[in-house]
């Protein structure tokens, strides 16, 4: 592999694309998306199905021609360039391995197309197959491989040509849960080792959080927020992002006193100090509070002061337990705990909840 070089930046500028839909007429698949992927990093496009993330990816690959906007790979404008001249590696959802070629020939395909000398091809293919842990599989055919092995071949096939950019289209969605986690770590390891700038598409927020340097959340063709997984989880800028990433309780609340440092919030009948939001607030204002499950402390009723509630549903998940708790006024909160002493709560049990105000985020009432 190329040592030293740290990849190139990829820049999308104002990309737009409309499709003609049979029933709905013309639909904007992607509208005015701008995004910069720093050299050597892994950026994920995350969003529900139909949000335009795959269309974006395919525009970068050159399979779809944008109606407006430009695509830059490094300092090269590739907007009008054919897919076979872009020097990208595309990993397909169903791997798209050539069924009539052996593992070796699949991996060698890009090198043969580029007419590399035979000894070099053998050498590079062997090296890449070793890298993905498939030494000795040379003469197997794709249909003789397991899903995970096929995935590795698909990876090897693109990294062997040393592309400037790696593109992944939901590469793990055909694998079972355990294998998905394993392959996810492997993709991350390879991407870090090779430092190839990568755009990764998935609808699975957990996968996005685990694998990405940065995540771009999309919805209805538009980019909502770009940030590190940490930023998106703890500082979502919209309710959509808050709800799409992680678990979220949204609770009605009222602003009490407000200063630059913080706000005294009346929530679930308690007054709780929380950080001030970025937007202006005034006393008496109705807001919505984002309360992550881990921002709620759980105890049996009577053991400490707090908000009284009743367990409505109990879900034992092994290393943690998840409860739906109803409080006065009928609000329901999802609460998790990893305390084994609280693993045996049953529906109907009375509990006490406490809030960690520093983890609560505020959103204006009535806006998404």
């Amino acid at each position: 592999m190329r040592g030293g070089e740290r990849g190139v930046a990829v820049r999308l500028e104002g990309l737009s694309k409309r499709f003609v839909h049979g029933a709905k007429g013309e639909v904007a698949a992607v509208s005015d998306v701008s995004l910069e992927i720093p050299p050597g990093t892994l950026m994920t496009l995350l969003g529900p199905s139909g949000c335009g993330k795959t269309t974006c990816l395919r525009m970068v690959a050159g399979f779809v021609v944008p109606e407006a906007g430009r695509i830059w790979i490094g300092d090269r404008d590739v907007t009008g360039l054919a897919a076979n001249h872009r020097n990208i590696g595309f990993v397909f959802q169903n791997y798209a391995l050539f069924p009539h070629l052996t593992v070796f020939e699949n991996v060698a395909y890009g090198l043969r197309v580029k007419k590399r000398p035979a000894p070099e091809i053998v050498e590079r293919v062997r090296r890449v197959l070793a890298l993905v842990g498939l030494s000795g599989y040379d003469s197997q055919f794709p249909n003789q491989l397991s899903g995970g092995e096929q995935q590795r071949v698909a990876l090897a096939r693109v990294i062997v040509v040393e592309p400037a950019v790696l593109l992944f289209d939901e590469p793990l969605s055909n694998l079972d849960a355990k294998l998905r986690i394993q392959m996810r770590a492997e993709i991350q390891r390879l991407q870090r080792a090779l430092a190839i700038t990568t755009l990764y598409v998935t609808h699975d927020q957990e996968e996005a959080m685990a694998i990405s340097d940065r995540v771009a959340v999309m919805r209805r063709g538009a980019l909502l927020q770009v940030g590190t997984p940490h930023e998106l989880y703890y500082a979502p800028r919209s309710l959509f992002v808050a709800q799409f990433i992680g678990r979220a309780n949204l609770v009605p609340a009222v602003i009490g006193t407000a200063t630059a440092e913080g706000v005294a919030l009346t929530v679930l009948g308690e007054v709780c100090p929380v950080p001030a939001p970025e937007w202006p607030v005034a006393p008496g204002m109705r807001v919505r509070a984002l309360v992550r499950p881990e921002a709620v402390g759980l105890a049996r009723a009577g053991t400490r002061a707090g908000i009284p509630g009743k367990v409505m549903e109990a879900l034992f998940l092994g290393e943690k337990s998840e409860y739906a708790v109803e409080v006065a006024g009928g609000e329901r909160l999802t609460v998790t705990t990893s305390d084994p002493a609280l693993a045996d709560l049953r529906p109907g049990d009375a509990v006490t909840l406490t809030l960690r105000g520093e983890l609560i985020r505020l959103f204006p009432e009535g806006r998404e």
């Binding site: 690959a61 050159g62 399979f63 054919a82 897919a83 076979n84 001249h85 872009r86 020097n87 990208i88 590696g89 595309f90 397909f92 959802q93 169903n94 798209a96 050539f98 069924p99 009539h100 395909y109 890009g110 197309v113 580029k114 055919f141 249909n143 096939r157 693109v158 040509v161």
Partner: protein, 543 residues
């Protein structure tokens, strides 16, 4: 563009010529000829006879095909028996159309081996509806078998397990789950057998005779006997009606339904449901007897080809084969030349059209596919008469050449290759081509290195069908042979009409041997390609 021109010239133009000829009276356009044809009671009778025969063959062929399919898919017969049943059912598909007809005459005719010699009956009347029906059912039931075996094999056993777990009995499940899911397949089989019978020209010519006139033979006699092109065209046009109805039904009604349960990705599969003991025994008896009858027919043909005169003089002789290699040799050579030229042309045409239809945005590609497939569905009589009318005079005179026969075969029998290519390409994810592009390959390189190898099985299937049909078809090309170029099947027919049944049998054996050799060769080629469906001769013919 080139393909469009070819289709227009070799499919649309001849068909249009049939129509104009039929409606062309003394004073321009007239319904006279068609009216006259329909006015004649014998022709009305022929139309009625054709429809009755086709319906009976449709029902009989589908029933027998269903029995075979059930036996093979459900009765746990073991590999050897299944292989034998497959081999037996393939025989009628690769034989010239007269084999069962000759065998039936040998067995049940006035001096029939079974009726006269074995049972001592005389005056048994096999000519007419009975004999024709028997022969056509035995010849065409494999079409139903291949269709229904596919349908039954792809039924998700989980559905029947589900019904079982809900407390339904075996018979009840068969009636309420299995049969309804098979209905599209049954309908398709019926239509296939119906269309085949409707178009069949050879069997009625030999077995139906004057007692049971049908349309294709009437049209043939009108032209070759009376040189009445008007009447012939009009008669074949009458045939066009039901044939088109069947084609449209198949394409737009059955076609939409057939694949409903064929998802390709069923859950984990349970064991195939078993049959009850009684049902199993009945099925095995029916299939066994049918298979034995077919084998007996072919054995009879073989014996007939090596004895002086079957039924009269059983002295061994090579005389019949001597005829084949002497006076008959021209027909053998002509047929082989035509088949070998037509084969690659037909194969390429099939793949090219299939690719165009599925993978490009070419204008009118749906219509292109429709026109191409329609030519396959039309009875050969219409196509033959159309070619005769179209290429007998300028702008393009081809009558008497090999080209007219080759063109007829290429355009008539390549649709199998087209359908195989379309089916294969639909299974091939577009992502494969994108993967190749993103790895730096140009369109041309992608086509050569990815698409072409993947559609090779379809190409071979196309080759096989064109070859088989070139060796065995007669209904269209009987109008196109000449002194210069003749065909084996026509030669067989001549031998039969001159009552040289031994010679006819020898020719038939030769055709079967040649076709079998070619299929073995292509099957070997397919296996070398390591595709899943490799090898099975039958799968070549399903398309």
């Amino acid at each position: 563009m080139v393909l469009w021109a070819a289709l227009a010239l070799f499919v649309c133009y001849p068909l249009a010529r049939v129509v104009t000829e039929a409606f062309h009276g003394e004073a321009g356009f007239s319904l006279g000829a068609v009216g006259a044809v329909l006015g004649h009671w014998a022709n009305r009778q022929a139309l009625w006879n054709s429809l009755v025969l086709a319906t009976l063959v449709g029902v009989g062929g589908t029933a027998l095909g269903f029995a075979f399919a059930l036996a093979v898919v459900r009765a746990r017969l073991g590999r050897v028996v299944t292989f034998l049943l497959d081999a037996v059912t393939v025989l009628p598909l690769i034989s010239p159309p007269f084999v069962s007809a000759i065998a039936i005459i040998f067995s049940f005719g006035p001096r029939g081996f079974l009726t006269y010699h074995l049972l001592g009956l005389s005056g048994v009347q096999i000519y007419g509806l009975t004999g024709t029906l028997l022969s056509e059912v035995l010849t065409y039931f494999p079409l139903a078998y291949l269709t229904l075996r596919g349908v039954l094999a792809s039924l998700d056993p989980n559905l029947e397990d589900m019904a079982l777990s809900l407390g339904a009995g075996r018979g009840h499940i068969f009636r309420t789950v299995t049969l309804p899911l098979t209905v599209p397949g049954l309908a398709n089989s019926f239509l296939l057998c119906f269309a085949a019978s409707l178009a069949d020209f050879a069997t009625p010519l030999i077995l139906a005779g004057q007692r049971y006139p049908v349309l294709p033979t009437q049209a043939y006699l009108q032209i070759t006997g009376l040189y009445d092109f008007h009447g012939g065209a009009a008669l074949s046009l009458v045939l066009l009606g039901p044939a088109l109805v069947v084609f449209l039904l198949q394409r737009y009604w059955v076609g939409r339904r057939v694949f409903v349960t064929v998802t390709g990705r069923a859950g984990p599969r349970g064991e195939r449901p078993r049959l009850g003991a009684l049902a199993r025994s009945v099925l095995i008896a029916v299939c066994g007897l049918t298979a034995l009858l077919i084998l007996y027919f072919y054995a009879l043909i073989f014996v007939a080809s090596i004895v002086r005169a079957l039924g009269a003089n059983h002295a061994l002789t090579a005389a019949h084969y001597r005829v084949v290699v002497t006076t008959g040799w021209k027909a053998v050579r002509d047929t082989l030349i035509i088949a070998l030229i037509g084969m690659p042309l037909g194969g390429l045409y099939g793949v090219a059209l299939g690719y165009l239809v599925t993978r490009t945005e070419a204008a009118g590609r749906r219509w292109m596919e429709f026109v191409a497939l329609m030519n396959y569905a039309l009875p050969g009589t219409i196509v033959g008469i159309g070619y005769l009318l179209a290429f007998n005079r300028p702008p393009l005179v081809l009558t008497g050449t090999a080209a007219i026969i080759i063109a007829c075969y290429v355009f008539r029998y390549s649709p199998a290759g087209i359908r195989a290519t379309v089916a294969l390409l639909q299974q091939i994810d577009q992502a494969l081509e994108e993967a190749s592009t993103s790895l730096g390959a140009s369109r041309l390189v992608t086509f050569r290195r990815v698409v072409l190898p993947l559609v090779l099985p379809a190409f071979l299937a196309g080759l096989a069908v064109v070859f088989i049909r070139s060796m065995t078809a007669i209904s269209a090309t009987i109008f196109l042979v000449s002194v210069n170029w003749t065909l084996l099947t026509v030669r067989i027919l001549e031998a039969i009409t001159e009552l040289e049944l031994g010679t006819a049998s020898a020719f038939a054996m030769l055709v079967i041997a040649l076709v079998y050799a070619m299929l073995t060769l292509l099957g070997w080629g397919l296996r070398r390609l390591r595709t899943r469906e490799a090898g099975a001769v039958a799968s070549l013919l399903e398309a």
